[in-house]
Amino acid sequence: MDWRALLALLWMVAFAGVLMLARFGLTEEGLYERLRPIPLFTALYRGLALAMEAGWSLHYALGQGSLWGEEGGMGLAGLSTLKAVGRFALRGDRPPEATTGDGLLYFLGRSTLRRLCRENHVSGDCSERMHLMGLMPWGYVVGVLSTPLAERTEVSVAVGHFGPEIGLLTETAPVVLTASEDLSAQALMYAAADETLVGEDVFAAPAYARAGASHLASLLAQDVFRWLLVLALLLGGPLYLIFGGGG
C-alpha cells in the first residue's frame, strides 16, 4: 500500500475524529464561542437581517461550478450557505432568488429552497425562485445581468465556484459577500467587492450563519488542523533543507 494513501487516510480519520469530538463534546453555543472571530460575518449577517426586515430583495448566486472536482466542495458550501442566508431573507417574507449555471446545482438548489421554505412555514413553491442562467461562465453572468432579476435585486450574495467573470456581477447590485475557491476570483474580488472571503474562510460562511452544530464543529476541526499544518510546514522546511534535497 502506498504510504501517501495511508497518510491521507490517517489525516482524514484524524480530522473526522476531531470533528466528531467537537460535535458531540460541545453544545452549539460552546462551539460558537470557540470560533475565531471573523468580524466580517457579524457585520454582514446583522446588515443582511436589517435589509431583509426592510423588505429588500436578495439575489443569491450559486455560481458556475459543477459537483466535479474541487469545485464541487464550493458548490456544496454554497448550498449550505443558501439555506442559512435564506433564513435572513425570510424575515422579510421574501425568499431569495437564486441563480446557477450548472444543471446539477440547479436541481439541488431547488430542493434546498423548497426545504428552506417548508421548514420556515412559507406558503407556495419556493423552488420556482431557483433560476438556471446560461451553462457557460460568461453566459451565466450575462444571464444574471440582463434579466429583470438584476433590476429587482437590492442585495447580492455570491457563494460558489466563480472564475474572473464574478467581477461583472458586482455591477448588478451591492454584493455584500463573495466567496469562491478560485484564486483569480478571490484576487479580483478583493479589489472590486465590498467584502470578500479569502482562503479557507470561504467555507466558514454556513457556520457563522448558524447553519447547525455540524458546521461549527467542522470549522473548529479546520482551525485545529490548520495549526497542525502550520507546525508541519515550519518544522518540515528546515528538515527538508537539512536531510532532503537542500544541498
Binding site: L67, A77, A191, G212
Partner: protein, 202 residues
C-alpha cells in the same frame, strides 16, 4: 437517533466507496470507481438537459404572460434553441465556438479589465485600509515591471524583482491558500459522507 433515509444511505455508501477507491488500488475498487463515475457522468448530462428544458418551460410561461422583459426572454429562448439545434445537427462544427463564444469571452474580459481597475481604485480610496494600498501598490509595481520587460527587454533588477514576486511571494501565498482550502474541502466532503449535509433531500 434520527434514522437515515434510503437516499442518504445510498449517497453515503457511494461516497465511502469512492474515497476508498481513490486511496487504495485494486481491481474491485477500480471497477466500482469507474462504474460510479460513468453513472455520475450520465446523471450529470441528464440533469443539464432537464435543467435546459425547465429553463425553456419557465421562460416560455413568462413570455406568454407578458411579464417585464419578455422581449429579452424571447430572444434568449430563440438563441438557446438555435444553439442547441445547431450543435445537434453539426456537432463537429467549431463555428459557435470560434465566432460566438471566443469573441464574446474576449469582449467580456476586456470589459472586466476596465470594471475591475475602476472598482479597485475606487475601493482603495474608499476603504482607506493599509492592505488596499498595499494591493494597489503591488499591482502598479508589477504592471510597471511587466511593461519594462516587454518594451526594453530584460533589465537585471526588473527581472530579479519580477522573478521574486512570481516565484517566491506569489507561489508561497498560493500554496498557503490552497492548503487551507483543502482543509475546507475535506470538511465539506466529510459532512456529506457523514450524511449531515444532504442537499439532495427535500
Amino acid at each position: 437517533m434520527k434514522r437515515l433515509s434510503p437516499s442518504t444511505g445510498v449517497a453515503v455508501g457511494v461516497g465511502a466507496v469512492m474515497v476508498l477507491a481513490l486511496l487504495f488500488s485494486g481491481p474491485l475498487f477500480e471497477g466500482l470507481r469507474w462504474l460510479f463515475l460513468d453513472w455520475a457522468v450520465l446523471v450529470s448530462g441528464v440533469a443539464v438537459f432537464a435543467a435546459f428544458l425547465y429553463f425553456l418551460q419557465s421562460q416560455w410561461k413568462l413570455i406568454l404572460e407578458r411579464r417585464s422583459g419578455w422581449p429579452y426572454r424571447a430572444i434568449m429562448v430563440v438563441a438557446a434553441v438555435t444553439a442547441f439545434a445547431f450543435t445537434l445537427l453539426r456537432p463537429q462544427s467549431p463555428w459557435l465556438l470560434e465566432y460566438v463564444l471566443i469573441p464574446g469571452g474576449a469582449a467580456f474580459l476586456a470589459l472586466l479589465a476596465i470594471v475591475v481597475t475602476y472598482r479597485g481604485l475606487w475601493m482603495a480610496f474608499r476603504r482607506e485600509r493599509a492592505w488596499a494600498w498595499v494591493f494597489a501598490g503591488a499591482v502598479t509595481l508589477l504592471l510597471i515591471l511587466d511593461i519594462v520587460r516587454g518594451s526594453i527587454g530584460p533589465v537585471f533588477l526588473a527581472e530579479a524583482v519580477w522573478y521574486w514576486a512570481e516565484h517566491v511571494v506569489t507561489r508561497a501565498g498560493v500554496r498557503g491558500l490552497l492548503l487551507a482550502m483543502a482543509l475546507g474541502l475535506m470538511a465539506t466532503g466529510l459532512r456529506v459522507l457523514g450524511g449531515v449535509d444532504r442537499p439532495y433531500e427535500e
